[in-house]
């Protein structure tokens, strides 16, 4: 299943809508990085509200996405991690350490806007 990527001003929003296969995740990574370059985006939001399991591969891919996008000078925010999923992730030792997180899409956008303001 492909993940739709929405362009909203300088921000790209990828909303994961169902459980993804490993291939889908890798495809998302490629697509996001490509579009950040193409649209000269300053921020990316990955919305994982619909994911009810986040295993080590998914976490690692999210980390990689964030790192690759940072190398393009843009910021990534992960939004919508469910309470149960967050609990399972930390038990597994997955803390997405240096990626900013936010409660939902709205919060994620607010975070990126604030960040943009503080730079300008």
């Amino acid at each position: 299943m492909q993940v739709p990527i929405l362009k909203q001003g300088g921000v790209l929003i990828a909303t994961i809508q169902a459980a993804l296969s490993d291939a889908d995740l890798l495809e998302l990574r490629t697509a996001l990085v490509r579009q950040v370059v193409r649209y000269r985006s300053s921020g990316v939001i990955v919305d994982v509200t619909a994911m009810d399991v986040m295993d080590s591969f998914a976490s690692r891919t999210l980390l990689e996405i964030s790192h690759m996008i940072r190398l393009r000078g843009a910021a990534t925010v992960i939004v919508g991690i469910q309470p149960e999923v967050a609990f399972a992730m930390v038990q597994l030792g997955l803390t997405l350490e240096d990626i900013p997180t936010a409660l939902d899409l709205e919060e994620g956008l607010a975070y990126l806007q604030q960040k943009a303001r503080s730079i300008n």
């Binding site: 080590s56 591969f57 690692r60 469910q82 609990f87 399972a88 038990q91 597994l92 030792g93 997955l94």
Partner: protein, 110 residues
């Protein structure tokens, strides 16, 4: 199934995550194997869920090393097996180099 056994949503998520990790191990190391789930009933009247993941892959030469946090032979985060051990209540691994690995884990209802 975990929910039907009586686990809460967050425990069911823990179990699902563990299954996902175990299945991933099979896919990335052995190509072929199986994951089975079954309810278990302890001698003290407890109810739980047991997951058996077995494969006929290359096996693990050093089990102690594979269970150490941060160790990975496939370029992963190195959280697979030790992480699964943290998610579950009981963890058992039998592996022989050359003939495959069987991981059996159990989560008990609190």
């Amino acid at each position: 199934m975990a929910l039907r056994t009586g686990f809460s949503m967050s425990e069911a998520t823990l179990i699902a995550t563990a299954i996902s990790e175990l299945a991933r191990n099979i896919v990335s190391y052995a190509n072929q194997g199986s994951v089975t789930l079954r309810p278990v009933y302890g001698s003290n009247g407890a109810t739980g869920l047991t997951i058996v993941a077995s494969d006929s892959g290359p096996g693990i030469t050093d089990v102690t090393l594979a269970l150490r946090d941060g160790y990975s032979s496939s370029g992963g985060l190195g959280l697979g097996l030790p992480g699964v051990r943290r998610l579950m209540d009981e963890f058992d691994i039998v592996s022989k180099a050359g003939s495959g690995t069987t991981v059996t884990v159990t989560k008990w209802l609190p």
